[in-house]
């Protein structure tokens, strides 16, 4: 033991030795820290939310006619969200149904959809999408600022480094869908309540 200690002093100066130990300690601490935290990119979290939303929305029977009909999610204005949702859709279902992701352009011609995500490059089209959702059983989700105040059904907000969402009961009613109580309980803010 004694030889070993002495040799260490010989091999590296006291300073170097101290630096190595401190460096090692920093690495070890950072390691422990890394294990305790879950971090992800905002759009990855939002994609996971969008997938979750599909389980907590009740669509009218006319838009989900057969038991095997897939839930169709459209993405406008975000290639990244399209890719993320496509990846999730390959291995996940919602309400026992397959999920189909489609890329959308302008809101003029809307295919049969159950949810549309309006991404950054299409924020300007948000009013048109909310108008298009009327009586069509279409959920409008977006990460645009003040999304629910601008007519979206569900909108993301970033709070203290975490992604939260807000819900609009009036928008849901306009589209003819129901948001489950569980979803509303988790929402940070629910507008148009009591109707």
């Amino acid at each position: 033991m004694k030889t070993a200690r002495r040799s260490l002093h010989g091999l590296l100066g006291t300073q170097q030795r101290l630096a190595l130990w401190l460096g090692g300690l920093a690495v070890a601490m950072a390691c422990l820290d890394a294990r305790a935290q879950i971090t992800a990119a905002p759009d990855e979290v939002e994609a996971a939310y969008v997938h979750k939303f599909l389980s907590y929305v009740e669509w009218p029977p006319r838009v989900l006619s057969t038991a095997s009909a897939p839930i169709v999610v459209g993405v406008a204005g975000s290639d990244r969200m399209f890719d993320l949702l496509s990846a999730i859709a390959t291995s996940h279902t919602a309400q026992g149904r397959a999920i189909r992701i489609v890329r959308l352009g302008k809101p003029e011609q809307v295919p049969d959809l159950h949810l549309v995500f309006v991404g950054k490059d299409a924020w300007g089209d948000l009013p048109a999408w909310t108008a298009a959702s009327k009586d069509r059983g279409l959920v409008v989700a977006t990460d645009a600022p003040q999304g629910v105040d601008r007519g979206a059904t569900l909108a993301f907000v970033q709070l203290a480094g975490k992604i939260r969402f807000e819900a609009s009961l009036s928008a849901a009613e306009r589209a003819g869908i129901k948001l489950s109580a569980r979803l509303l309980a988790v929402a940070d803010r629910v507008v148009g309540a009591g109707q």
Partner: protein
């Protein structure tokens, strides 16, 4: 999956069971058995992660058990503690070296130095592995989590912390070229006060301080006092001297707080940038005046230099913003490695302004600078006196959604009086027009440029240029088309024709192919031809200044040619980790050599050969408060004289490059107001003349004492008393350990 999770820990279970924690204890197997297992385990995890990120393989990345890294660290620490006696290495340490050393002298020193035993190396490298193992283990976990977010409940999703750091610009991920971007924040965090010190952050650059004022900076080899294959620009203005196609680093103004980013491209970029971009391009981009408003004062002082900068930014109207600055510095003389100093203590003042105007479809930028500097009287050579002024203007107009035009012009007047090295009075006027258009799958870029330079060089004590004064012009035209062949496949074709006064027209073609693998990865390849056209230094230099000459110019010297093949890979492993690697072969022909003709040297083009290498870098941010950056550069130079050459020195005149260089930088945010950086860089031995390898550790701490006040302190090369990085024309300086403190005040 279960087996994978276990295999890391299994190594340690066995390791302990057999009593192998100590090197001096009996252990059934050789310690190398375990190190091989550990390395193998880590590699397999990394490969799995990469293939997963590319969309192949199982959806869940096999995870290193979280305890693995802790176990590895502990095991390595125990091994480290039990190293048997080794003779002190420090008494022969390179820090103690004095003067230039021949290879033979160095070898004799080396043989006297008792080598570390294999077991000791094993222990030490295990400790190094611990540092690597943790990032891998956790980055892997991050990836798995990112992919599995969809399995979390709504409540759990609410608690996921989001990070937007380290996901590089998408355009950067798309570029089929070897590019590293130094952010302005990084520069400010490490407290860099000069452009060369900031450039040390780029893993694809070779940066060596020659003395207290001068640097040798290059990419992919040929580094030297007169490095000439790197194009350096500040806001579009080329800052190299037409005299020798290199950069005088001591004449460059630098205000860290005004830097937006520095883009460093290694490899040829001729089609877009021109004939000097043979081995790389550095593009310093400053923040717009609108982003640097209000007053800012900062001062740095330490045992090597003192710098003070004052800046003021204001708006003239809604669409015009202006900023101006004054900077002054003084720097100590550099210490010679044989004792004494060079007598080159220097001081100087510079001032600059930038104005930005934006209205509708037009933007205009005007940038101007002035500087003056001097050194002490060096024994026998007098002082070095510098001054200069420059102005750059750029106007761009958006024609429609798919096209824009840009016109840029600058005028640069520089003066340098240095009896020992080069003297120069140069005036340069440069104008360039660019047009961009996107039509369907094509992104066109076309342009034309013209440069005029008047250059006067009075004979010094050693060098003279004949004729002393020259007026020259260059013109060029280029076109590039980026074609989206299919969604993931992009082809970029580029061609530039450039006319120079010595060798006439030169063609610089290139072909680049980029293939996107999933959202996060890019595989790219490129073939380019790069040219360095002759400069006055190659054709018109004479030593001594009167006949009979030892060096009599290079009347036959013509352009140096490089044909370059590159293969690169870039990937975003997870939201918080990325990796880039490039392998390249630069095949050179007609490099500069000396030829003895009638008893005097003349420059000719009789060196050829290849430089092969690998550049790689990555970053990983496990948590918001901690980021690791690592870089690696490996060079293999095989240059030779061609038939008919009688150059007695050969390729070593072209540059002095390490075979290997690596760096590791750890950035910590310690609470709201405190951050710190520890950076280690290693540069391998330079072969000729021999400069020993060195490992330098820099540390900086920044404390935001008040919203308007920041205090910083730092140390450079903390664990050595000093080291040498490059040999100047006749001397080797020691770059000493240095300390600095700085204060920066920005009233709200």
């Amino acid at each position: 999956m279960e087996d994978d999770e276990d295999s890391g820990l299994k190594i340690f279970r066995e390791f302990r069971k057999e009593g192998c924690e100590r090197l001096d204890a009996p252990c059934r197997r050789a310690h190398s058995h375990y190190s091989v297992q550990i390395v193998w385990h880590l590699l397999s995890v990394m490969v799995q992660c990469v293939t997963n990120s590319m969309g192949y393989g199982p959806r869940n990345c096999a995870r290193v058990d979280a305890d693995f890294c802790a176990q590895l660290f502990e095991g390595a620490a125990q091994l480290f503690d039990s190293i048997p006696a080794v003779r002190p290495a420090t008494e022969h340490g390179f820090g103690a070296m004095r003067g230039a050393m021949t290879q033979a002298e160095l070898d004799s020193k080396r043989t006297r130095l008792e080598p570390l035993s294999f077991r000791s190396w094993l222990a030490l490298s295990s400790l190094g592995l611990a540092a690597i193992a943790c990032p891998v283990a956790a980055a892997d976990a991050q990836l798995a989590i990112a992919q599995n977010l969809a399995d979390l409940s709504l409540e759990e999703l609410r608690e996921v912390r989001v990070t937007s750091v380290s996901r590089r610009d998408q355009s950067l991920l798309d570029a089929p070229t070897s590019i590293y971007v130094i952010s302005g924040d990084e520069i400010r965090r490490i407290g860099a006060t000069t452009l060369p010190e900031a450039l040390r952050l780029a893993p694809n650059l070779l940066v060596a301080a020659i003395d207290a004022r001068q640097y040798a900076i290059s990419a992919r080899g040929f580094n030297g006092n007169i490095a000439n294959k790197l194009l350096v620009m500040v806001d579009g203005r080329t800052i190299y001297s037409p005299l020798f196609s290199g950069t005088f680093w001591d004449a460059q103004d630098f205000v860290a707080s005004d830097i937006d980013r520095i883009e460093v491209i290694s490899g040829p970029a001729g089609p877009t940038w021109g004939t000097n971009a043979v081995n790389g391009v550095i593009n310093v981009v400053t923040l717009s005046a609108a982003k640097t408003q209000g007053a800012s004062l900062s001062g740095t002082t330490g045992n090597l230099e003192s710098v003070a900068v004052g800046r003021y930014g204001f708006t003239v109207s809604d669409d015009i913003a202006v900023r101006a600055h004054v900077r002054t510095f003084s720097r100590d003389a550099s210490q010679l490695s044989g004792g004494g100093n060079l007598g080159d203590a220097s001081r100087g003042t510079s001032a600059g302004m930038r104005a930005d105007w934006a209205r509708g479809r037009d933007t205009v930028m005007v940038n101007a600078g002035l500087y003056t500097g001097t050194t002490d009287d060096r024994p026998g050579f007098g002082s070095v006196d510098l001054h200069g002024a420059n102005i750059t203007g750029r106007w761009s107009r958006k024609l429609d959604d798919a096209s824009n035009v840009e016109l840029q012009a600058y005028y640069d007047d520089t003066s340098r009086k240095d009896n020992f090295l080069l003297q120069e009075d140069a005036k340069i006027f440069d104008v360039e027009a660019k047009y961009r258009q996107t039509t369907g799958a094509h992104q066109w870029l076309a342009g034309a440029g013209y440069r005029w330079a008047q250059d006067r060089s009075e004979p010094g004590l050693i060098f003279a240029f004949f004729p002393p004064e020259r007026t020259q012009s260059w013109y060029s035209a280029f076109v590039q088309d980026e074609i989206t062949l299919t969604a993931p496949l992009t082809l970029t074709l580029g061609m530039r024709m450039e006319h120079n006064p010595y060798s006439g027209w030169e063609a610089l073609p290139s072909v680049r192919l980029g293939y996107r693998v999933g959202q996060e990865s890019l595989v790219w390849g490129a073939l380019s031809r790069a040219v360095r056209s002759p400069s006055r230094f190659d054709r018109e230099i004479f030593v001594p200044t009167k006949p009979p000459f030892a060096i009599a110019g290079g009347p036959n010297f013509t352009s140096e040619i490089a044909n370059v093949a590159e293969l690169g890979f870039r990937t975003q492993l997870a939201a918080n980790a990325s990796l880039a690697a490039t392998a390249f072969i630069q095949d050179y022909d007609r490099l500069r050599s000396g030829q003895i003709i009638n008893g005097a040297f003349q420059f000719e083009n009789r060196i050829a050969g290849q430089i092969r290498g690998i550049e790689a870098w990555g970053n990983w941010q496990p948590v918001k408060d901690w980021r690791l950056d690592a870089g690696l550069l490996w060079l293999d130079e095989r240059l030779h004289l061609t038939a008919g050459s009688n150059d007695p020195t050969g390729p070593s005149n072209l540059g002095n490059d390490p075979r290997i260089q690596w760096s590791l930088r750890s950035t910590h945010t310690l609470g709201e107001r405190l951050d710190g950086t520890v950076a280690v860089r290693h540069v391998g031995q330079l072969p000729s003349p021999v400069i020993p390898s060195y490992t330098a550790t820099d540390a900086t701490v920044n404390w935001r004492a008040r919203p308007d006040l920041r205090l910083s302190a730092g140390v450079r090369d903390a664990f050595n008393s000093g080291h040498s990085e490059y040999q100047g024309f006749s001397t080797i300086s020691t770059i000493p350990r240095s300390f600095f403190v700085s204060v920066s005040y920005q009233p709200r």
